[in-house]
């Protein structure tokens, strides 16, 4: 029943066997104990589960763990450089881009990817780039500010 899988997560290689139906998000959370990635919906629309697979953001609730076999996955736990926060993490902290923090890991992953493709986004581009991520707390204003802060910092 279990199928072998080998993935690199945050630079570390894991070999496991999984049930085929295991979603990537459950693999990360339950199997690897990486609970920073959250689940907020059932219809692939909230983005709380966003991680990067081979450098691209995906909703880890909409991918089988087996589809990530052989891939390199980055989660919120792997974004900082040791104790040094990434510019995006710093931006969220500086600009109060989070309240309850539940959407935040996904937001940070989405923003990180956005800036990797577009280092100087306009406000509209930031909003378009994060449209797959819902936040019920912040009203988004400070999330936009956080991404602007990170863009400026990385420039």
């Amino acid at each position: 029943m279990g199928v072998p899988i080998k993935v690199q997560v945050n630079g570390k290689t894991y070999e496991r066997t999984v049930e085929p139906r295991t979603l990537l998000v459950h693999f990360l959370r339950e199997e690897l104990g990486l609970t920073g990635t959250n689940v907020g919906c059932e219809t692939s629309l909230c983005g709380a589960c966003t991680v990067m697979v081979d450098g691209k953001t995906v909703k880890s609730c909409t991918q089988l763990a087996l589809q990530a076999d052989g891939s390199s996955v980055t989660t919120i736990e792997g974004i900082a450089d040791g104790d040094r926060l990434s510019a995006v993490q710093e931006g969220f902290w500086e600009k109060h881009g989070l309240q309850c923090g539940y959407c935040t890991p996904g937001m940070i992953m989405a923003a990180t990817h956005l800036l990797s493709e577009n280092p100087k986004p306009s406000e509209a581009e930031i909003r378009a780039g994060l449209k797959g991520n819902l936040c019920r707390c912040t009203g988004y204003h400070n999330i936009v500010e956080a991404v602007k802060y990170a863009a400026a910092k990385m420039a």
């Binding site: 459950h26 609970t35 219809t43 923090g101 539940y102 909003r127 019920r136 707390c137 009203g139 400070n142």
Partner: protein, 781 residues
């Protein structure tokens, strides 16, 4: 980090949350933990003929399948209680697991426990429930008009019939009015939609007969109390409720649901920890919804546009059962707010609370106050049109004047303070009103062009819930004080135990600022503990914009007591009298001889050494306060929203949103602004996108994000915020509360703006949400 009151320091809770180290309930894993899946009714109203659990029990990995029978067998009282009573309120029983009848889609009938969650779900699918469907109702008014009776206790599906104000006086005002305006409106039912779904982990310790419950709660002590009293029946000292990180609540995590006790039952039966995490579908079907009113409202005015009377008739949907605070929401939190910011000499409101076959309705961000503000501000918009005075002038003429405070309204509240006109002036200035009006006039010349609309909303809220004696006299089954236990350690650092329970509001930062400011410490020298009934003696939790005003005040009071005592210790050490000791910036000095001084830590250490110590003082330095405020607080504000409506599609685009709020003194402006932003988005969402729809069988048609539109980042503008400051006169911090302001003010601002844009078509009113089709149709009439 020094964090004086008023400084926008970064939040201390963030480092964990931005690195993925925050621990929410579903992140916790206890040794031997099993997973539960709850079997829920797919019918809105049905009799249960039988439940067959055999196949589920035999499913792989399953440890147990439980139904109502097991609740009784385990000796649990098994009832979900209601925590607020009204005169002649009908309180039909609400069993945690239904055995005879289900009353809404999502009503729980059984629970399955398995090794892991996929298996639990597999087995839940195998539980066979034989239902006999019954006719169902969902509309709060129509349910009273010959619909199938839902509870034996409640004829015509009426839960309560309540009124406030003076009917005769109000009728007389209408008889003599120069102008009247009226509106029929609904306040749309909303799904709270905290992004974290509800979750519970119960861990029963058979040897001690005790249970530990980790759960998504805004008020762990209230949850424990309600469980002990009605559903679980354990004595309180055998129950520990812990709120780990909580991913938003907005009211939905105040209430006591069947689920927490169902999970306890599983753990009791199996002797192992059991976790249940709601799927989004489940949480949307069962988290108490918000609003859902049908209202007829009328305003009477004299020649000069001065309001003479307000008459309101409301049907409020309670859903299938009375949720925890549900009866208070459309009554004491609604009827009492109908005076708004205005001097209204006669008001009468009549509210009928009704049962329907829908998810229970309870407090959701704003709770009653958004509904009241919507009624009042829609009427003000219409009155501005009817009198020709326009939206600003009609409001100016009716504001309670600044010299009239304390102002007693006709609906039981006494506004302690306020100054409404400066906020309106500032909002007009920020929005650039004159230029907008000119642009609007230009566009109106060509009705095919996108039209500009400008909407006003002047809101007041009564928050910081509030004197216990008052809420008790109104039916609350709980007090509304807050506790703070402030403990100073020998080395001078401080731990605060607060009964307030943060779920995103930043208590660990704000509360530390209060202490640091008053004791001259760094924020890092103050630890804030909350959300655990074993650590904090008792507390009422976080909701109703009460944390700073009540919880913060409790802390301030405890700190005052500590300062008092430490001055006496310092006086002893400095050989002066306590009255002659000044304490500032962490230093004790003797009046008139500044060279004679002691540091904070010198004194705190002495409090514990007690070697050289006043005879009449106990050692130690800590203080507990149960702060019970003398009144509500009354934040207010003036909001202006500017929209562009495309008449060809009916689509609305937000161009500007200006919010000038007066929340009293501000402890951390960054956090306060964040609260306003979030509230605004929720209110804008209610106005433009969010709205539940039920079909004829009371099936929720908008249960998922495929149909229920939360506000999204690309549909919202940057907000323009400012503040006026009218401190609360009756609490030690002068703070009023900010959590709900945005959600209260914004729906009428947005709706008034859209209707202003539709003025060329003569549209008087449209119900929320203002989906594009509705707006388009209004331009076709």
């Amino acid at each position: 980090m020094s964090g004086k009151i008023g400084s926008a320091i970064k939040r201390r809770e963030d480092p964990a949350l931005i690195t993925g180290r925050g621990r929410y309930t579903d992140d916790l894993k206890l040794p031997g933990m099993l997973h539960a899946a709850i079997v829920r009714s797919p019918h809105a109203h049905a009799r249960i003929r039988g439940i067959d659990i055999a196949a589920a029990k035999a499913s792989p990995g399953v440890h147990g399948v439980f139904t109502a029978e097991d609740v009784n067998a385990a000796g649990l009282p098994g009832m979900v209680p209601v925590g607020w009573l009204l005169p002649e309120l009908k309180t039909p029983p609400h069993p945690i697991l239904a055995s005879e009848k289900v009353n809404h889609v999502g009503d729980a009938v059984a629970v399955v426990v398995a090794d892991e969650r996929y298996q639990a779900r597999d087995a839940a699918d195998l539980v066979e429930v034989d239902y006999e469907p019954l006719p169902a109702s969902s509309n709060p008014k129509k349910t009273t008009e010959g619909a199938q009776q839902i509870h034996d206790e409640a004829p015509n599906n009426i839960a309560f019939d309540w009124e406030i104000g003076d009917r005769a006086k109000t009728d007389a005002a209408f008889a003599a009015a120069a102008h009247t305006v009226e509106v029929d409106l609904t306040n749309n039912r909303l799904i709270p939609f905290a992004i974290e779904p509800r979750a519970v982990i119960a861990d029963y310790d058979g040897d001690r007969g005790a249970i530990t419950v980790h759960m998504t709660t805004q008020n762990p002590h209230v949850h424990r109390l309600l469980m002990c009293l009605a559903s679980l029946g354990f004595p309180e000292h055998k129950v520990r409720v812990v709120a780990p990180e909580v991913g938003g609540g907005f009211g939905s995590k105040i209430h006591h649901y069947a689920d927490e006790t169902i999970v306890c039952l599983c753990s009791i039966k199996l002797g192992r920890p059991v976790k249940w995490t709601a799927t989004r579908t489940e949480t949307n079907l069962t988290d108490a919804h918000g609003r859902d009113h049908v209202t007829h409202a009328e305003l009477a005015l004299d020649e000069g546009g001065k309001i003479t009377g307000l008459r309101v008739e409301t049907w409020a949907n309670m859903g299938a059962y009375l949720s925890t605070f549900a009866p208070a929401v459309p009554t004491y939190l609604y009827g009492t707010l109908l005076s708004g910011q205005y001097d209204i000499p006669a008001i009468h409101a009549h509210v009928v609370g009704t049962f329907t076959n829908t998810c229970p309705v309870d407090a959701y961000r704003g709770a009653g106050r958004p509904e009241a503000t919507f009624v009042v501000e829609r009427l003000m918009h219409l009155a501005g049109e009817a009198t020709g005075l326009g939206p600003a002038e009609i409001r100016r003429r009716n504001f309670v004047r600044p010299d009239a405070f304390p102002y007693e309204t006709q609906v039981a509240l006494t506004y302690d303070s306020g100054n409404y006109e400066p906020a309106l002036d500032r909002a007009l200035e920020l929005v650039g009103y004159d230029a907008l009006v000119a642009e609007q006039a230009e566009r109106r010349k060509d009705r095919t062009r996108p039209q500009i609309g400008i909407g006003f909303s002047n809101f007041i809220e009564a928050c910081g819930l509030a004197p216990s004696a008052v809420v008790g006299s109104l039916g609350a089954q709980a007090g509304q004080w807050e506790s703070a236990d402030v403990r100073v350690h020998p080395t001078g650092t401080v731990t605060v135990y607060t009964g307030s329970s943060s779920h995103g509001q930043g208590h660990e930062t704000t509360f530390a600022q209060i202490v640091a400011d008053k004791l001259g410490l760094e924020v890092d020298q103050v630890e804030v503990v909350h959300g655990d009934t074993d650590k904090v003696q008792f507390g009422m939790g976080t909701y109703g914009s009460r944390s700073a005003a009540v919880g913060g005040s409790a802390i301030a009071r405890s700190v005052e007591k500590i300062v008092e005592k430490s001055k006496r210790i310092a006086a002893h050490l400095l050989e002066a009298s306590a009255e002659d000791i000044d304490f500032a910036g962490g230093k004790f000095t003797v009046k008139g001889s500044p060279e004679s001084s002691l540091g904070w830590a010198d004194v705190t250490l002495q409090a514990y050494l007690a070697h050289n110590y006043p005879d009449d003082l106990e050692p130690g330095l800590s203080a507990t306060t149960f702060y019970d405020p003398s009144n509500f607080t009354y934040p207010f504000g003036s909001h202006i929203c500017v929209v562009e409506v495309d008449p060809e599609t009916g689509n609305t685009r937000l161009l500007q949103y200006v919010a000038v709020d007066d929340v009293g003194n501000v402890i951390n402006p960054m956090i306060v602004e964040g609260q306003v932003h979030g509230g605004l988005a929720q209110g804008i969402g209610q106005a433009l996108w969010e709205g539940t729809a039920y079909d004829e069988q009371a099936q929720l048609l908008t249960g998922s994000l495929m149909d229920y539109a939360l506000p999204k980042i690309h549909n919202l503008p940057m907000y323009t915020l400012d503040r006026t400051v009218t401190p609360c006169p009756h609490n030690p911090l002068g703070v009023k509360g900010v959590g709900e302001a945005g959600a209260i003010a914004s729906p009428p601002a947005v709706v008034n703006a859209v209707l202003d844009a539709l003025q060329p078509w003569g549209v008087r009113h449209l119900d929320m949400p203002l989906h594009a089709e509705k707006v388009w149709r209004a331009t076709q009439a």
